[in-house]
Amino acid sequence: MHVARNAKEYKMKILLSVVILFLSVAPAQAALKVFTCEPEWAALVQELGGTQVTVASATTALQDPHHIEARPSLIAKTRQADLLVCTGAGLEAGWLPPLLRTAGNPKVQPGQPGYFEAASAAALLEVQTRADRAEGDVHPGGNPHLHLDARNIMRVAEQLATRLKQIDPANAAHYAARRADFARRWQTALARWEREAAPLKGMPVVYHHRSWVYLAHWLGLKEVGVLEPKPGLPPTAAHLTQLLTQLKGQPARAIVRSAYEDGRADAWLSERAQIPALVLPYTVGAEGADDLFKLFDITIARLKEPVLSPSTVLRIGQSKEATR
């Protein structure tokens, strides 16, 4: 009898916990759930939302945002989001549409307040007048790697703060205060970065992928070559050889790639052309870039290494290749 009552109690407890679980899921949460496609937007949302938001990113700094699959875990995250923040401009064309279609979350569908594209806040570079796949995996809407122009971060932040207020009007004052604080800190940092990066103006660089056009546009770097023969295609021996010949006549100061790109082609070219191969964080979460400020601190510091002392950096660049 005693045992039977215990079993009954146990059953009741299970039932109760199931009910509590359902109840706890149903009402709107205290914190706004934000799901971002890339880590740079997660970092920005964290800056603007503070404790009022919980943020998760679909990709990490070690993942190529073009080549992600619509994994079950990402569907689960999309399902729960109050706000989705993505780059747009076709960067997530392969995986965001299936996530949106399977998640059953009307709040974050395109056109809803819960869907935010950073590309809508900034002027895009390299808008294509014709879209031909023979040119590689080009994004007709423009190059999507817009966050590497630090001025674009501020432009996106302005619109994102407005959107946070729209979705969560109860905390409008909180978002306004954080936006103002972020803007102040960002403007200060922006002035400092532009001062620090002044010597980089006109610096000839070779890209691994055309992820750096916004950084170049902002800091005045000069692109002299790209390792990928066409956007999205891995470097080929023939293309690298051609690039090597070209670099003999038109030397570059650095070969830059992101942390998620394979460094073998960069190392090959670096060794033969005697140009340092640099790994830049590209986004928040790699190479010590813990937040958006560090992202640009580290990027500019790394780019300045070859300018200040070409020989030491050649060693750094190569040792980095060796450790990967």
């Binding site: 689960a76 299936p98 009307p106 709040k107 569908q109 809508s120 900034a122 002027a123 423009g142 891995p234």
Partner: protein
């Protein structure tokens, strides 16, 4: 309270200002609306056994199942048109143009985007969500042909007209539950029994990540179909007919690995499924028999099959794959038709290896070699295949 919340979500789409987020930066060309893509495929196949005579002992096969066409042949060309219809609906149309110059509506469905609480409703013609491989279009297969279990038990894949309701749980663990109510026109259903409500399915999917490098999905599905004169065997000349009930159960598991979750350089995909089918009813051999009346007798059978495969991208653009298939005809009681289901003591099985190269996401060239023992007479098969897609960017489905 719950009701009012859902009502609010339904109304939300009507009350937003879509202009801000939908607006394109100045000077930017609008992309295609709708998305249109065309899949072109073709193959050269060396098949030792004549595919016209293909049977699997102990199994009754549905239409268009078999190892394919000998020699050089065009595959199905698929035309896919899809778009958001408006803020509440999405639509997709897939036409398959066969090498015989016929057009088949493979899929044509509309789906909700605006239902709250993780709910989704789909209506039209579509591949059922049962299993893992079932809803994949042939151009997304990792091998030239589908698994033997799908070929034998589902006539390659089960698609039909109907509706689907699915629900995604609000949890970090991916939980999707759903069910379909279908017409029952296609194998393993047939004849649109029950006034065109001949089949129903239930499915559950679980999935998630393990660390940054691993991702998985597991599924369990059930299909119940009623058949009214379902044709099998030599369908064009001497079809057999089955009237009765079929129950299908599928367990599937997919596990993917890539370093740091970045599949660009290398990645591995492991996949296995177990299919089980139980049938109970009446079987008529050679319905159009010229030699006296066709023989009808009670029929009860249990068939099962499984496959396991691994596909490894060992460097960008290059993938190698290995697959093993096996079938089992467990218990067959067919009375007067028993001779038709003689397994000849044979265990149908097949081993395949494949190598493919993709210049970009949009092109693929594949070489596959199979040792096919689905028939007692072992067959060595060699396939060379191309699959290319034009137009809209395809989805990176898991």
């Amino acid at each position: 309270m719950r009701f009012s919340f859902s009502a609010m979500c339904l109304l939300l789409p009507l009350s937003v200002n879509a202009a801000e987020s939908a607006a394109l930066p100045k000077g930017q060309p609008a992309s295609f609306n709708p998305d249109i893509s065309l899949i072109l495929s073709g193959s050269a196949a060396h098949l030792g056994n004549d595919p016209e005579d293909y049977t699997i002992p102990g199994f009754l096969l549905g239409a268009e199942t078999g190892p394919g066409t000998r020699g050089l042949s065009l595959g199905e060309s698929e035309l896919i048109v899809s778009a958001n219809v408006d803020d509440l609906f999405y639509g997709q149309f897939t036409a398959a143009l066969t090498p015989e110059n016929e057009m088949e509506v493979e899929e044509a469905f509309v789906q909700t985007l605006g239902l709250p609480h993780g709910l989704g409703l789909r209506a039209g013609r579509f591949f059922s969500a049962i299993g893992y491989l079932n809803s994949q279009h042939p151009h997304a297969w990792d091998f030239v042909d589908t698994a033997l279990a799908y070929r034998a038990l589902l006539a390659n894949q089960y698609g039909d007209d109907g509706v689907r309701l699915s629900w995604v749980a609000p949890t970090d663990l991916f939980v999707e539950l759903g069910g379909e109510w279908l017409r029952g026109e296609n194998f393993p259903a047939g004849g649109a029994a029950n006034n065109g409500q001949g089949a129903a399915t239930l499915f559950a999917h679980l999935g998630g990540d393990v660390g940054a490098s691993h991702a998985w999905r597991a599924g369990l599905s059930l299909l119940r179909a009623r058949s009214e004169g379902r044709e099998s065997g030599a369908i064009d000349t001497a079809p057999d007919a089955f009237t009765g009930d079929s129950r299908v159960a599928i367990a599937d598991l997919v596990w993917k690995w890539s370093p740091d979750g970045n599949p660009r350089q290398t990645n591995l995909k492991l996949q296995a499924e177990y299919l089980w089918r139980d049938e109970d009813g009446e079987f008529t051999a050679d319905v159009n028999s010229m030699n006296g009346p066709a023989v009808t007798d009670a029929y009860r059978a249990t068939h099962s099959g499984w496959y396991a495969q691994a596909v490894y991208q060992f460097m960008p653009q290059w993938r190698a794959g290995l697959r093993y298939d096996q079938l089992r005809a467990q218990e067959i009681a067919a009375g007067a038709n028993a001779a038709l289901f003689d397994t000849q003591g044979h265990v149908p099985r097949r081993a395949s290896v494949m190598l493919d190269w993709s210049r970009s996401e949009f092109s693929r060239l594949r070489l596959q070699v199979s040792r096919d023992r689905s028939q007692p007479d072992a067959d060595s098969q060699v396939f060379v295949q191309y699959i290319m897609s034009l137009g809209a960017h395809g989805a990176h489905a898991f």
